[in-house]
């Protein structure tokens, strides 16, 4: 029993010695390595932020620039589709519209320039989405600059 305790204690000592040897033999990096790594992370973050910001700004600009012709096309399509004429019927012959309101609504819907509306809404959506993410990237960039 006594021998077993001595043996176990000795084994524990050897293990501890080996651990101590590794700890004592620990290699030391340059003092500013952690700071350099932190700076590299920030730099990488800024690079990603800038590239995203450029892409988002370009997308936002293109969608905003396309909004004017898309709006003109939408207005033209509305006037050519007869939508306004049908709509004006609601003021001139309100009684008949109430009687045939289902048919009238269908007619009104059919006269809508769907493609132009979709294009216009899509451009508005892309513009606001890129604006939202661009603001996010600016905040991120400012955060990393402040660190």
């Amino acid at each position: 029993m006594h021998l077993l305790i001595v043996y176990n204690t000795s084994m524990k000592d050897i293990k501890e010695n080996l651990k101590n040897a590794f700890l004592k033999g620990s290699l030391l990096p340059e003092a500013n390595l952690a700071d350099d790594i932190w700076k590299a992370v920030i730099k990488r973050n800024q690079r990603i932020v800038y590239s995203k910001l450029i892409t988002l700004s370009l997308t936002g600009f293109v969608s905003l620039y396309s909004l004017a012709p898309a709006f003109r096309m939408l207005a033209l399509d509305f006037s050519q589709s007869g939508f306004y004429e049908y709509l004006s019927l609601t003021f001139s012959s309100g009684g008949s519209i109430v009687a045939y309101w289902k048919d009238f609504l269908l007619l009104l819907a059919e006269s809508l320039p769907v493609m132009s509306i979709l294009l216009f809404l899509m451009l508005v959506f892309v513009f606001f989405l890129s604006l939202k993410y661009a603001i996010k990237q600016i905040v991120k960039g400012q955060l990393s600059l402040s660190l």
Binding site: I14, A21, L27, P29, I37
Partner: protein
């Protein structure tokens, strides 16, 4: 800013917008990772590999799952993979080591042996000298080095080491044993 929180708590802080928390992780792990990489690769390339490791950690921190493994295991796994990528790029990966790894994937009968027994007292005394230890470890393969460093320096369990090195528990145990035998031969 000082952090007394666990790694996992620091990661939550970082995810909640505390950018400085990540800096604390860097401060906490630079020295252990440096020792690990410097031993299995070399001291000159270690800073670049660690920097690359931290950038990978920063990019993938959202993927970290504390339920699968501890942060320490996770970051050491990334470090090991980054170091292996570095070696592959430099084309200095020794085919001999790879062959040994495959051979040693099978379980070993040596797993129950108390391995530290293979090192005599005089050898352990010699190892107390930093230069001597480093010179001795340089003579071991990167594979043997990483196991000894993770086990004795980082005080990791066999389970953690097997996850990091992607090897079975028995393989890790037998490889540590072989590494110690080799170390003894070197010391003799």
């Amino acid at each position: 800013m000082s952090f007394n929180e666990t790694d996992e708590e620091i990661i939550i802080l970082y995810k909640n917008g505390n950018q400085e928390a990540f800096r604390n992780l860097i401060n906490r792990y630079t020295l252990p990772l440096y020792n690990f990489v410097a031993r299995i690769i070399n001291q000159n390339d270690a800073p670049d590999i660690i920097q690359e490791t931290f950038i990978k950690v920063w990019k993938n921190i959202d993927r970290f799952d504390a339920e699968k493994a501890s942060f320490k295991t996770w970051i050491f796994t990334i470090t090991k993979n980054t170091a292996m990528d570095f070696l592959r790029k430099k084309k200095i990966l020794l085919f001999k080591d790879m062959e040994n790894n495959n051979r040693e994937k099978e379980g070993s009968f040596e797993e129950n042996i108390l391995d530290e027994d293979t090192l005599p007292d005089e050898a352990l005394e010699k190892l107390q000298d930093r230069e001597f230890l480093n010179a001795a470890l340089k003579k071991l393969s990167p594979n043997e080095n990483e196991i000894l460093v993770l086990y004795y320096q980082e005080e990791m369990t066999f389970n953690q080491i097997s996850k990091i090195l992607n090897k079975s528990l028995n393989t890790v145990k037998s490889q540590r044993h072989r590494a110690l035998i080799k170390l003894r031969k070197i010391l003799n």
